[in-house]
């Protein structure tokens, strides 16, 4: 299952001639990636070292943008929020995904139906999920508040207060992410031989012990990969936040990506925007490196 396990490929039939066939196969993708990923990446690094606006990139400014950035409280605020958002997003979606995977892995009626119905939050467009959720949490009379007040609590201003907005974006992020966790864990669960559980029960193991000694070892690998992937995806998330709160109220739900978007495309400060994007890249590469290391070990 390892990522780095490059398959044993056939040896070229004629060893002396360079075999160009593989490169012909790779060429279309290489051209596209060079044009859309590689070249802009280099230009992006240069922009982060320049003044200027989105309309007119300016002169070389050295690391001035980074110095400015590291002096901005808004930057630390969004760094912090990115971490909070990713942390709770990952934990919440993992626990929900794990729980549901365990439940639908049991012998249950309409298994196929549940497996599809629980994927809905993942497959629908982000804009649709936000339209759906907005109605539930938008104001005092929204359905969720009706339910809260029904149970005797006072209604919550989900989108107008900082705490409420942070809670809402994380909740919706979890809602949109748990199906991925569920599907991945479910695939690992299905490789477990059910006889093991019966044997464990006969040997007197309780449920927690069976989980710890039978279930966990077989889902551990996939779990770590899912945590890291989801951390990366949460860090990169724009849609959930932008469509729901646009980073507000004030800056409460502004992550690094939203911050970079704001500086580049709203305030037209090209240098600052690019330097935020570069900082995000470095953080994400760190996370990606962690994942590759883990998979090599595995």
């Amino acid at each position: 299952m390892s990522l780095l396990n490059i398959s044993k490929a056939e040896k070229p039939l004629n060893r002396r001639k360079i075999d160009w066939a593989p490169y012909n196969f790779l060429l279309p993708s290489l051209i596209l990636i060079a044009m859309i990923n590689l070249y802009p990446l280099i230009v992006g690094v240069m922009y982060s070292l320049q003044d200027g606006t989105l309309i007119q990139p300016g002169d070389f400014a050295g690391i001035q943008n980074y110095i400015d950035l590291f002096r901005m409280s808004e930057f630390y605020n969004s760094l912090y929020f990115s971490a909070v958002f990713a942390f709770f997003g990952v934990i919440g979606s993992y626990l929900a995904g794990l729980g549901l995977a365990v439940l639908i892995n049991k012998d249950v009626w309409l298994k196929g139906f549940f497996r599809v119905a629980l994927l809905v939050p993942w497959i629908i467009p982000s804009i649709v999920s936000i339209v759906g959720w907005r109605w539930l949490i938008a104001d005092e009379n929204a359905l969720l508040n009706e339910i809260i007040t029904f149970f005797g609590f006072s209604s919550i201003n989900f989108l107008g207060t900082e705490g409420g907005a942070i809670f809402s974006v994380i909740l919706i992020k979890i809602w949109r992410s748990f199906p991925f966790m569920m599907v991945s864990i479910l695939a690992a669960l299905q490789t477990i031989n059910n006889d093991l559980y019966e044997a464990a029960t006969i040997d007197g193991a309780n449920r927690w012990k069976s989980f710890l000694h039978i279930t966990w070892p077989s889902i551990k690998g996939i779990s770590v990969v899912c945590w890291i992937l989801m951390t990366i995806w949460s860090f990169n998330d724009f849609d959930t936040i932008w469509l729901l709160t646009q980073g507000g109220p004030i800056n409460a739900t502004e992550n690094l990506i939203v911050l970079a978007y704001n500086y580049t495309f709203i305030k037209s400060e090209l240098g600052i925007g690019s330097s935020i994007a570069i900082v995000s890249l470095i953080i994400l590469m760190g996370l990606a490196y962690l994942m590759l290391r883990f998979q090599e070990e595995d």
Partner: protein
């Protein structure tokens, strides 16, 4: 013992029904709301529509750009999916079958690319595309969708091609096919499930994408649906009827496509998404 098991099975079943209902509640209420009039939505606390109406859909149909934007979404999704399943198939095959330092570096870089903050490349591309006068055209979005989906698609194909035995190709090569012919005539025809898995992810990515479309598509007549709905939400925030109707219609192609290729999706997300 047997009866005990039956009760537990029933409890499990009904708990799952309740959980599934609650999880889908935002979608269910949205669909139901789209059949209420705006005034009913504001005043009534019933979840079910009391006066079932199609006026929101009618309004959407006659007064808005919805169908134009729907068409744009279909074009972008069609080309995004088609091109990425073709380009990625060749690359995936090369990575699965050939071995060299370059290829192993390339395949690892693809993994890294998937973790890229897209915003980083969008900034230079915006400036570049403005010079090329590609802003506000569907081309800009299509080329980005194809390319950004490539790393994932290539890795998914690689996983699939790895599972096809090499003996097949060897036989074809002995019969005089070159590599390209072998790939087109032998491998692709038996790669249906692999292609389907890549196609569904590409479809969902292109159809659902918001950030890129939001940056590159500026006027209402070229917008795809996600950007169109967002703009509509800003301009007519009180017209929830049309907003929910538009969102409901937007889900239809997703569901239809998903139901067709559902089994490949689940197999693919388990194998490909987690690996890549």
């Amino acid at each position: 013992m047997k009866k005990h098991k039956g009760i537990r099975k029933t409890i499990l079943f009904f708990s799952l029904i309740v959980i599934t209902f609650l999880i889908n509640l935002p979608i269910i209420t949205m669909i139901l709301n789209s059949f209420k009039s705006n005034s009913e939505m504001r005043t009534s606390t019933h979840i079910l529509p009391q006066n079932f109406t199609l006026e929101n859909y009618l309004h959407l149909h006659t007064q808005t750009m919805f169908w134009t934007q729907f068409k744009n979404s279909v074009i972008v999704t069609f080309w995004g999916t088609l091109l990425s399943i073709i380009v990625a198939a060749f690359a995936g095959f090369a990575i699965s079958r050939f071995r060299s330092t370059f290829i192993s570096i390339y395949s690892k870089s693809l993994l890294m690319l998937q973790m890229f903050p897209i915003i980083l490349v969008l900034i230079p591309l915006f400036i570049m595309f403005r010079h090329l006068e590609l802003i506000n055209t569907l081309y800009s979005v299509i080329i980005l969708y194809v390319t950004l989906h490539l790393p994932f698609a290539i890795w998914m194909y690689k996983g699939y091609f790895d599972s096809i035995p090499r003996e097949l190709e060897e036989a074809a090569r002995i019969d005089g096919c070159n590599r390209f012919q072998t790939f087109i005539k032998i491998i692709l025809p038996i790669s249906g499930p692999g292609i389907a898995a890549v196609a569904i992810f590409s479809f969902l990515f292109s159809f659902n994408e918001y950030l890129i479309a939001n940056i590159f598509l500026k006027t209402e007549d070229v917008m795809t649906i996600p950007v169109g709905i967002q703009l509509f939400m800003q301009q007519y925030s009180s017209d929830w009827g049309s907003i929910t109707a538009a969102a409901t219609l937007t889900m239809v192609p997703v569901f239809l496509f998903f139901l067709f290729v559902q089994k490949y999706f689940i197999a693919g997300s388990a194998a490909g998404a987690v690996k890549g």
